[in-house]
């Protein structure tokens, strides 16, 4: 199975999640865990850095859909940054850019949280 790795950092009150490798039905639970930890810590401002993500499946996309509501209700959000072109096209085809904010650079996303 393809590898997947998730880790998180903090910049001010914004939490940065780095995703690496292949995000699919088998690896999605790892990302869910990360989100659960943030919610436990009452951290709702999240930027997901996709710079090292190679592939995302529908199950991977589902993770963001499952958590975004909670974040937004707590006046936070999930924003995406540094997507590779092919990964972005998956989001784009589905219409994610209508519902989520995408940024070229992580710092732009952080700035948006103000």
């Amino acid at each position: 199975m393809a590898d997947f790795n998730v880790s998180s950092r903090i910049d001010g009150d914004v939490n940065l999640i780095d995703v690496k490798g292949y995000l699919d039905a088998h690896t999605a639970p790892d990302l869910e865990n990360e989100f659960n930890k943030l919610i436990e810590k009452k951290q709702f401002k999240v930027v997901v850095n996709f710079s090292e993500l190679n592939y995302i499946s529908s199950a991977g996309l589902g993770v963001f859909m499952a958590y975004v509501e909670t974040m937004r209700e707590q006046s936070g959000d999930i924003k995406f940054s540094n997507l590779r072109e092919d990964v972005y096209s998956i989001f784009d085809l589905l219409g994610f850019p209508v519902l989520y904010e995408f940024y070229k650079e992580e710092k732009d996303a952080i700035k948006k949280f103000g």
Binding site: A59, M65, L93
Partner: protein
């Protein structure tokens, strides 16, 4: 002759009993016919009959006593009770009756009968006791071909017959005495057959210690009383002098044997505890290996293991921790609190992490554990930590601790190691079993999902002269949730849909079934693809979970004039190949289930296209474009469009086959991880062809 003897000696228990009773009957008849035995010949016949009967009795009794060979305690109790009864009868009768003068000449039916009964009682008891000794002798016998007991039997027989000799002539008494002496030597020699004592438990040893001295005393008294002049001795002696001698020898055997049992047990007693320990260790190891093959629940086995650890290793408490995903899981505790064990093992494991590749033992260990409000200190005299290792991987640890007692002995440490090994194997077995069950369950589930999917998809494609239709569906091993369908709308319109449900397996196939139901019914009432998808999204609101969505593309073709109207909800684009040129059509529209409000409805558009003669219309799911090869590259849209372009003028079935072949060739050796769906249309403009013909 030989075969005659063998045929007498052989036979089962019942045969032996029959022969024995038969011999007694003959003996009794003989005694009735010849109440007074004076002639030498008669004495000889008398003795031979008696000993033949006794031998048969002995063979029968050995059958009974040898069935008790695994329970020497009960056997010795039997013997003890028997000798007590004999002693009782002798004492009582000696007290009540005087000796009879000139017993050789006493005659009469009453005397004959009572003498036969009394003699038989004593003789048979003695023979039963002798048979028991034979069984004692054979218990735990290591070497075969040891005939000392047989020699003893022969010595008893010889001294018995020589007793007759001394009756005939008192000068021959030395023969009797010699054989008697030889018999005594053999009795003493055989009496050292007491190795079975070692295998008794401590409790049993204490029991046998007390009973053996009593039984030995009883036998001694019985032996001594037969030298005394009393009525029983007189009667038995008159019945047969040889029997009297054998009786004495057997009583002496009892006296010596139980005396030796007493002393042996006495010497064994100090080590009895240690011996118990060892045998318990062996027993629990046997029990555990039995348990390993029978119990698949690891928790149950772990409980037995910690229990056995405490018993065998003399520890106060034992507990077992497994490591799953880097976390310590306390599985079983024995004689220690759950929380206590958890805290202590967490502390110990973090302290000794690196050293725990082999069994570790430590003495005088102080463990401080910080609780919420205070610090608790545990003092252990000794701790053993044994890793659960399988294939060089440590899956957990077995702990054994002593709080009050002394440190662990080397063999106790080894035993903990052995138990840990058992636990490691059992844990591995349990894991493999769980995995296979899980796999089977998943396969059953997938079978269900595949069945659902096959029922949902159209069994055949619509047939129309102007609109050719072909479709390809290749299910993935884990059902992917692809769906396509056609709806005949009036005479000249065909509705079509292609959809992909997120997720896999049974859940995806149920959503798929629902999606089919929605499209089936909405296609009849809503003629506007965009409105239809908005309505579909609204209905799915109730059933889609937060993290799942459906991409779909719905359209209607007017077969007569080639007008196509469609809308897309997050699905892959519609592709048209017109005169060898590929074109993608991608009206905006987000996936079903991404939003259930105005964002969805305000971000979706219809798209109208007029098809040209022989245009190929293609719908597909991402299972095609996301197929991967061995170097993990995607098939991609470019390759797909190239195949279509190259075959634009070919038959529809040919295009389908080419695409399938290309994808298969590309992703060979790689498992197909998503469903592959492809729907192709070829529209023919009859009007145009007519015009051409006319023109």
């Amino acid at each position: 002759m030989n075969s005659l003897i063998t045929s007498i000696l052989e036979g089962n228990k019942k045969n032996k009993l029959e022969k024995f009773i038969f011999s007694i009957v003959i003996l009794v008849l003989f005694k009735i016919f010849f109440p007074l035995v004076n002639a030498t010949v008669l004495v000889l016949i008398n003795e031979i009959l008696i000993f033949a009967s006794l031998s048969l009795g002995f063979l029968y009794f050995v059958e009974i006593t040898s069935s008790k060979s695994d329970n020497p305690i009960s056997l010795s109790l039997n013997v003890g009770i028997l000798s007590a009864i004999l002693f009782f009868i002798i004492s009582i009768s000696a007290a009540i009756f005087d000796t009879i003068e000139n017993i050789e000449d006493v005659n009469g039916v009453i005397y004959t009968f009572s003498s036969v009964i009394i003699s038989q009682l004593f003789i048979l008891s003695a023979v039963y006791i002798l048979a028991s000794f034979q069984t004692f002798y054979s218990i735990r016998q290591k070497r075969v071909n040891e005939n000392y007991f047989d020699y003893l039997l022969i010595a008893i027989l010889l001294s018995a017959f020589s007793g007759m000799l001394s009756k005939i002539s008192s000068e021959l008494q030395f023969v009797e005495k010699t054989f008697f002496f030889v018999a005594i030597v053999l009795v003493v020699f055989n009496s050292f057959r007491v190795s079975w004592i070692a295998f008794l438990t401590k409790k049993q040893k204490i029991f046998i210690l007390f009973t053996s001295i009593i039984i030995s005393g009883l036998f001694g008294l019985n032996f001594a009383m037969f030298f005394d002049n009393n009525i029983i001795e007189q009667i038995v002696g008159n019945f047969s002098p040889g029997v009297k001698i054998s009786y004495r020898l057997i009583m002496l055997y009892g006296n010596v044997y139980f005396g030796i049992i007493f002393f042996t047990t006495l010497f064994h007693l100090p080590t009895a505890g240690a011996f118990d320990q060892k045998s318990e260790e062996i027993t629990s190891l046997i029990d555990l290996s039995k348990l390993m093959t029978q119990v698949l629940d690891f928790k149950e086995l772990a409980d037995s293991l910690t229990d056995a650890t405490n018993k065998v290793c003399n520890s106060d408490s034992a507990w077992l921790v497994t490591i799953e995903n880097g976390e310590n899981n306390l599985i079983s505790v024995n004689n220690i609190g759950y929380l206590e064990a958890k805290n202590i093992s967490d502390e110990l494991l973090s302290e000794f992490k690196e050293q725990l590749t082999d069994v570790v033992s430590m003495n005088k260990k102080l463990i401080k554990i910080k609780l919420k409000n205070d610090v608790r200190t545990y003092i252990f005299q000794a701790i053993i930590i044994a890793p659960l290792k399988v294939h060089g991987k440590t899956n957990g640890f077995l702990f054994a601790t002593k709080r009050q007692k002394y440190k662990f002995e080397q063999d106790e440490k080894k035993a903990v190691g052995a138990f840990a090994d058992y636990a490691a194997i059992a844990l591995e077995n349990a894991k493999l079993f769980k995995e296979s069950v899980e796999k089977e369950r998943m396969e059953n589930e997938l079978e269900v999902a595949r069945n659902i999917q096959m029922r949902i998809l159209p069994s055949e494609n619509p047939k129309n002269e102007q609109l050719e239709v072909d479709a390809l569906f290749v299910p993935a091993f884990e059902v992917g949730g692809d769906y396509y369908d056609f709806f005949q709308l009036g005479n000249n319109k065909l509705g079509f849909v292609i959809a992909d449900v997120s997720g896999k397996g049974v859940v995806a196939s149920y959503v798929m079934a629902e999606v089919k139901g929605i499209f089936e019914s909405l296609s009849r009432v809503i003629q506007n693809p965009k409105e239809l998808l908005i309505e579909t999204n609204d209905i799915l609101k109730k059933s889609l979970s937060k993290n799942s969505f459906v991409t779909a593309l719905y359209g209607i073709i007017d077969i007569e004039n080639g007008k196509l109207n469609f809308a897309r909800a997050g699905h892959t684009p519609l592709v048209i190949c017109s005169e060898g040129k590929i074109k993608e059509y991608l009206p905006k529209g987000i996936g079903l289930g991404l939003d259930f409000g105005t964002i969805f409805s305000s971000n979706i558009d219809n798209m109208e296209i007029e098809l040209n003669n022989n245009d190929i219309l293609m719908l597909y799911t991402d299972g095609i474009t996301e197929s991967r090869n061995s170097s993990n590259e995607e098939f991609g849209f470019d390759k797909l469009s190239k195949v279509v372009e190259n075959n634009c003028n070919a038959e529809l079935t040919q295009i389908t086959r080419s695409i399938f072949e290309e994808v298969s060739l590309f992703s060979k050796e790689q498992q197909q991880h998503d469903d592959i769906t492809l729907v192709l249309f070829k529209w023919k403009n009859f009007k145009k062809s007519l015009e051409k013909l006319n023109g």
